[in-house]
């Protein structure tokens, strides 16, 4: 048990440290953003990459970067640092978001994780609406007055209770979080939402529904 735990702990440390190290050294697997788009465009232009230019550093981009590095006498570590970027003739803006969320401000990232955990598969407007409900709660006297306080209130969100909040959000969720933070509120100030197909609380069901988006009723 003990050695197992130690190995697990070591793995965890490495898992957390990797994105940070990659962030410091350059753009690598799991990164997103404008730098990745630059890299993909250049690799595609030069025939190393056949995938789509989507700004997501996935396995296709990784293989292409390694191939490029091998052919250009660079260390084939799959990370685009200063040397690889120079060989590609591009400048990194360091504005890319790593998988850990660096580059996206902490609150946007946290909100994006709730939106993704609670509302992936919902229409975009419904995802912004989930973010807006969180922020409306922060502004309401009856709820905690921080985003983290609202999100981690026990039982407030299923995605927090069942751990889905820890999934890495997709770009849509991050955009929805940013739109909600910028003031978009498709719910007109709602504080609650529920799925009428699964909700059981009489208190909740007694509240007047203001609008429905996708599977959720907002009130």
């Amino acid at each position: 048990m003990r050695p197992l735990k130690r190995t697990a702990a070591a793995l965890l440390v490495i898992a957390f440290a990797l994105p940070v190290l990659a962030g410091a050294a350059g753009v690598g697997y799991g990164a997103k953003g404008e730098d990745v788009i630059k890299i993909q465009k250049r690799l595609k232009q030069w025939g190393y990459y056949n995938g789509s230019v989507d700004g997501m550093f996935g396995s296709g981009t990784l293989a292409a970067v390694k191939n490029f590095q091998r052919k250009n006498g660079l260390t084939a570590d799959g990370i685009v640092g200063k040397k690889t970027a120079a060989a590609m003739g591009i400048t990194l803006s360091s504005g890319s978001t790593q998988a850990s969320g660096s580059g996206t401000s902490g609150e946007v990232w946290l909100l994006a994780r709730v939106i993704y955990g609670e509302g992936r598969g919902e229409p975009y407007k419904g995802q912004v609406a989930i973010g807006a409900v969180v922020l409306n709660r922060v502004r309401s006297a009856s709820f905690p007055n921080t985003i983290a306080g609202v999100i981690y209130q026990r039982g407030a969100f299923d995605a927090v209770s069942d751990g889905q909040i820890n999934l890495a959000p997709d770009e849509n969720a991050v955009r929805a979080a940013r739109d909600a933070m910028n003031g978009w509120d498709p719910t007109g100030g709602c504080l609650y939402y529920y799925n009428p197909a699964t909700a059981t609380s009489r208190w909740m069901l007694s509240r007047p529904v203001r609008l429905r988006i996708g599977r959720h009723a907002f009130c």
């Binding site: 803006s93 209130q153 003031g183 007109g188 709602c190 609008l211």
Partner: protein
């Protein structure tokens, strides 16, 4: 030969069976040890949760008690400085108590009222301390309200002490339904447990119940909303629903965009459309001007006139420009509209006018009592001016605005906006401008 094989088989079966038995025993032992380890971890975890809740409950009781003591001290303090300090203690203690409540695992309807009381008590104390600093003496109503808050704090402390003694505070081990479960009462409690506080602050009930000032007039018919959407976005529109609430809206789709028009006045409250989203980096001056121009012409079309761009941010291939209403050269910072422009097509792909719709109305014209040069004396010497000062009407509290001189300057490599009251010469607000690869914003 066959006999040798047969003998070998005869011997190997028991040998293999014994090996299997030994392996099973070792495996079983390992599993049992693992199960015991898990049980131990689970026990340890439960006890950490219970203890952490107990600590929260205890600290909550102590904090609310301290808040009561601060209010008692306030009632016997004469000096302005002493009273401001006591009020700031109440602000801090109420914030601490709210943080502790949010850590106690209880249902939302169960904690909502208490949370609202503590939030408003702190918010009210802050507004009172600001009034004292501005030279205003609290009136009879304030004395009564402070007494009511003290009374609630004393009752709450007693209740918490009793709950702690009885072990009645939630500790995370009970089943919890955030919304009170299927059996919870559907009716709102008729008798409020905490006093209603009348004051001017961000969490005041008056603010939560504020009515929009701009979206007024007769209710429009759905057909009119559809026609207005088509006129605005230049594509056939379809009504998808109606959102009720303080600001009822018609929700529509038009040419791949979603939008909401206020039922009263048919004002464009928000609209959103997916951008092409390929542009990146910060724009040059020419692109910036083109973006601002595109945004302004859309604002004019939507009925938001005399708007001036302030901050801009660049994300996901879009530019987000915050526009502020300008009244006779004075920037009115409550009346904001945000416009998103697709940087590839320079077409609008979003708008949010909630602030404007709630606060926009004609303001009474004011003349500044002091000159910009006189106001500059209130600005810190370390701020190096970077632009000419100009007049702005800024929110001081949710219900009060003040005419100020806006000074823009630099200090230690950062840019700041400093607002000095144009009537009293008092420094009212300071904003720091954050600039990064995505543009700028004020905090």
């Amino acid at each position: 030969m066959t006999r040798t094989i047969k003998r070998l088989i005869d011997y190997s079966i028991p040998v293999l069976a014994s090996f299997a038995a030994i392996a099973a025993a070792v495996w079983g032992r390992g599993q049992r040890a693992r199960a015991e380890e898990y049980a131990r971890i689970a026990d340890e975890y439960v006890s950490v949760c219970i203890n952490s809740c107990a600590r929260c409950g205890q600290e909550l009781e102590e904090t609310v008690r301290a808040m009561g003591v601060s209010l008692e001290k306030l009632s016997v303090t004469a000096s302005v400085g002493g009273r401001v300090l006591a009020l700031e203690d109440v602000v801090r203690e109420s914030a601490e108590a709210q943080a502790l409540i949010s850590r106690l695992p209880q249902s939302q309807p169960g904690s909502a009222e208490l949370n609202a009381f503590l939030t408003r008590a702190g918010d009210y104390a802050r507004s009172l301390s600001k009034r004292l600093l501005a030279g205003e003496e609290p009136g009879e109503r304030d004395k009564k309200q402070l007494a009511l808050i003290l009374d609630s704090c004393v009752k709450l402390t007693d209740r918490l002490s009793a709950d702690i003694a009885d072990g009645a505070l939630p500790n995370g081990t009970e089943d919890l339904d955030y919304y009170g479960g299927p059996e919870a009462g559907a009716e709102e409690p008729s008798e409020p447990e905490y006093p209603e506080l009348i004051y001017d602050g961000p969490f005041a009930e008056a603010v939560e119940n504020a009515e929009p000032k701009w979206a007024v007039g007769e209710e429009a018919a759905p057909g009119e909303a559809r026609a207005r959407a088509e006129e605005l976005l230049g594509a056939p529109a379809e009504l998808t629903g109606k959102t009720e609430g303080r600001l009822p809206t018609y929700d529509l789709t038009s040419g791949g965009a979603e939008l909401a028009l206020t039922v009263r006045g048919l004002k464009l409250l928000w609209f959103m459309r997916a951008p092409a989203g390929n542009a990146s980096g910060l724009p040059d001056d020419a692109e910036r001007e083109a973006i601002f121009g595109a945004a302004r012409s859309f604002l004019d079309r939507a009925g938001y006139e005399d708007m001036e761009p302030s901050f801009a941010q660049y994300h996901d291939g879009t530019a987000l420009v915050t526009f502020v209403w300008v009244m006779d050269g004075v920037r009115v910072y409550n009346d904001l509209v945000k416009v998103w422009i697709d940087r590839e097509t320079h077409e609008p792909c979003g708008l949010d006018a909630r602030n404007y719709v709630y606060s926009h109305c004609e303001r009474e014209r004011q003349e500044p009592a002091i000159t910009a040069e006189e106001a500059r004396r209130s600005v810190s010497q370390s701020l190096v001016s970077t632009a000419e000062p100009r007049l702005a009407l800024i929110p001081i509290t949710p219900q009060r605005e003040a005419l100020c001189y806006e000074f823009t300057g630099e200090c230690g490599g950062s840019e700041y906006y400093v607002y000095v009251n144009a009537q009293t010469g008092r420094e009212e607000r300071i904003f720091k401008i954050l600039k990064d690869e995505n543009g700028e914003k004020a905090i």
